[in-house]
Amino acid sequence: MNILKISLRNVTRQKKRSFLLGGAIAFGMFIIITVGSFTTGITETLKANFTSIMGGHIYILGTETLDSGRVVQRIGDTGNLEEAVKTIDDMVAEYHVRSQVNQAEIIFGSKSANMQLSGVKWDEELQLKDTLIITDGSLDNVDSKGALLIPEKIAEKLDVLPGESVLVRMDTVTGQKNVGEFTVAAIVQEQSGFSFISAGYTGMAYLNELIGLGPDEYQYLNINLKDISRMDDVAARLTNELAKTSLIAVADDSADGERKRGHSMMFGGMFSGSSAEPWDGTKFAVTTLNDLMEPVLQLVNILNIVSLVLFIILMIITMVGLINTFRMVLIERTREIGTMRAVGMHRGSIRSIFLMEALFLSLFGALGGIMLSLLVTGITGLIKFTSDSPLGLFLNNGRLQFITNPVSAIAVVLLLSIMTLLAVYLPAKKAAKLNVVDALRAQY
C-alpha cells in the first residue's frame, strides 16, 4: 500500500509534467475511442436503415427468360422458393414479398418527380406499417386499389395532398411504357437515412397489374431473421436448398456478374434486358444485408485501421517522452532513492514505485481521454441534421449515433498500460539498481 501511496503522490508532485504527459495519452485515447464509437455507430445505424428500407436481412431476387430471349425480373416459380424458405423457418422472424419500380415518375398537373415505388402486401408487412411515420393522411384505406404513400419531399415538390389523384408513369418488366392512376392515401416521412432514394409504397396487386406481373408473382422475397449475426450462415443454407431445385446466380469476378447486377438492380441500376444463354424457370440471386453493406464495412475497417495506426504512432511518441521524462525523474530523485534504500526499502519496491507512477499516469490519461470522448460524442449526438443531409444514410432519427464498445475500450487501456510499463521498465530497473551510498552522495 505504501508503494501505491508513494506512486500516487509522485504523480501529483510535478503537476505540469504529469498534465502534459497525461494529456498526450488522453489525446491518443480520445482519437481511438471516438473513431471507434463513430464507426460502430454508423455500422449499426446503416444496418438498421438498410433493414428498414429493404424490408429484411436476406433478399432473394428472381429473373426469368422470356421466349424472345429478354430477361425480366420476376419470381413466377414461387413453389420452389417457398419450399426452400421453409427449411430455415426456425431462424426467420418474418418474410414478405415485394415488387418494385426503381424509377417511377409521379405526375401531378405540370409537375413531376421520380421515386422508387414498392408494391407490398399490406396484411403481411406489419413491421413496415409500424416504422412508417405518417405526416398527413392515414393508413386506414391503404389496402384499396391505387392507394399510394408518398414521401414528404415528393409531396412538397408536387404540392399534392392526401385524397388527390396522381399519375405514375413506369416501365413494365419488359420495358414498355405504362401509366397508372393512384390516389394519395398518406404522406410519409423520408425513411431515416435514405433521403437520396425517395421511396413510395402501394399495394402489390395493382402494381403487378401495371408492370405486367401475374397476381401471385413478385420480384423480391425479403427475410427478417431472428438473429442477425447468423445472416451469412442462413443465406448459405438457403442458397444450397434453392440450388437443389432451381438455378442460382453466382457471383463471379467480372463486372457483369449477375449477383452484383442483382445488387445494382435493387437500387435502380439498369438491366441489360437480354441474356447470352436463356434458361428455364426462375434464376435466383440471394443477397444479404452484409453484402449490400460490404463497401461501407470496408470503409469502416479502413477508418478503424487508420485510427489504430494513428493511436500507435501517438503512443510511441508519447512513450518516447515518457522514457525521457523518467530518466530525468531518476536523476532528480537519486538522493530520494538513496534515502528510501537506506531506510530499508527493497530494490523491487523502488522499481515498483516507478512502474506504478507511470501506470497511474497512463490510466489517468486514458480515463481523461475516454471522458473527453464521451463528452464530445454526446454533444455531437445531440445535433439534429436535416432530412436531406448528405449524411442521411448514417443518421438515426436525424442524429449521428455513437456506440462505445466497453470491451474495445478496456482492450485499448490494457494495450496502453503494457506499452507504458515497457517504456518505463529500463529507467525503473536502473533506479532500483542504484548504489545506496552513491545515491546519498549525489549532488543533483
Partner: protein
C-alpha cells in the same frame, strides 16, 4: 315519308364515309410500305438534328445532335454536339445492343430503345429503322381527314413486347403513305404521347420527316420539337459505327 328517306340517306352517307375503303390486310401492307419508305436500305444516312425541349419545370432546352444511320445493318450513332455540357455524349446502336457513352466517365452503359433520348420526349426507338410491319398489327382502319389531308386512321396493336408502346394510333396519308400523326398508348389504354410529323423531305427515294413534334400527354406543357437539316445519303465509313470511333471523337 320523304323526311324519313332523306334522314336515312344522310345516315347512310355519314356511315359510308367512316367505313374503310381498305381491308385490314391491305392496311397491314401499308405498314410495310411505310417501313420501306422510311428505312434507308442500300444507303447510309446522316443529318443534324436540332431538338428544342419545353418543360414547365425546367424551361426550354436546346440540343444539337449529329445522326448517322445504316438501317441495313440496324446500326446508328447519335452524337451530341450542343450544348457544351453534353458534347461528346452519344448513343450507339449495333443490332440489339444500344449503348450510351459518357465522355466524363469514358464508359459505355447499356440502355434500351424504349428509354427517353437525351431526356427529351423522343425515345431512342424513334431514331432507328422503322419496323411497324413487324411490331404491330392493324386492329381497325378507317378513312378520315387530318387538316387538309385525306388519311387512313389505323389502330395498331403490338405483336411483341419489344415495342415501347403496346398500342398506337396513326394517321397515314392515303396518297403517299406518310405518317402525319401518331398517338402512343399505354398498356392500360391511356394516351401517353402524341407525335406530329408536319413536314417530310425526299432523300434518295426515301421519305424523311424533317420536323417532328413529340407531346407528353401526361404532363401539361411538356413537348419536344425536332428539326432535321444537313441531310446526306453519302456512304459512311464503317468505323463510325464502332465504340472506338465514339471514344476517338471525344479524346
Amino acid at each position: 315519308m320523304k323526311k324519313y328517306i332523306i334522314i336515312l340517306m344522310i345516315l347512310l352517307i355519314v356511315g359510308l364515309s367512316s367505313v374503310s375503303a381498305i381491308s385490314l390486310d391491305e392496311a397491314d401492307k401499308i405498314l410495310g410500305t411505310i417501313d420501306t419508305s422510311r428505312n434507308f436500305t442500300g444507303t447510309d444516312f446522316s443529318a443534324v438534328m436540332t431538338m428544342i425541349s419545353e418543360d414547365p419545370e425546367t424551361g426550354i432546352e436546346k440540343k444539337k445532335v449529329q445522326q448517322f444511320r445504316r438501317d441495313d445493318e440496324e446500326m446508328f450513332l447519335m452524337l451530341f454536339i450542343e450544348p457544351a455540357v453534353e458534347k461528346g455524349q452519344g448513343y450507339l446502336n449495333i443490332g440489339e445492343n444500344l449503348w450510351f457513352y459518357d465522355p466524363q466517365s469514358r464508359k459505355f452503359n447499356h440502355t434500351s430503345m424504349k428509354e427517353s433520348f437525351g431526356g427529351t420526349d423522343a425515345k431512342n426507338s424513334d431514331f432507328g429503322a422503322s419496323s411497324l410491319g413487324d411490331d404491330y398489327k392493324v386492329n381497325t382502319v378507317k378513312e378520315g381527314k387530318l387538316g387538309k389531308y385525306n388519311v387512313y386512321i389505323m389502330d395498331l396493336e403490338e405483336k411483341n413486347s419489344e415495342v415501347t408502346y403496346p398500342a398506337v394510333k396513326i394517321w397515314v396519308t392515303r396518297s403517299s403513305n406518310l405518317i402525319l400523326k401518331s398517338e402512343d398508348y399505354s398498356a392500360t389504354g391511356r394516351l401517353m404521347r402524341t407525335s406530329l410529323f408536319p413536314s417530310y423531305a425526299k432523300v434518295a427515294d426515301k421519305y424523311l420527316a424533317t420536323k417532328m413534334i413529340f407531346v407528353d400527354e401526361l404532363i401539361d406543357g411538356k413537348k419536344t420539337q425536332i428539326s432535321i437539316t444537313d441531310i446526306s445519303s453519302k456512304d459512311l465509313p464503317d468505323s463510325i459505327f464502332t465504340k472506338s470511333y465514339v471514344e476517338r471523337v471525344n479524346h
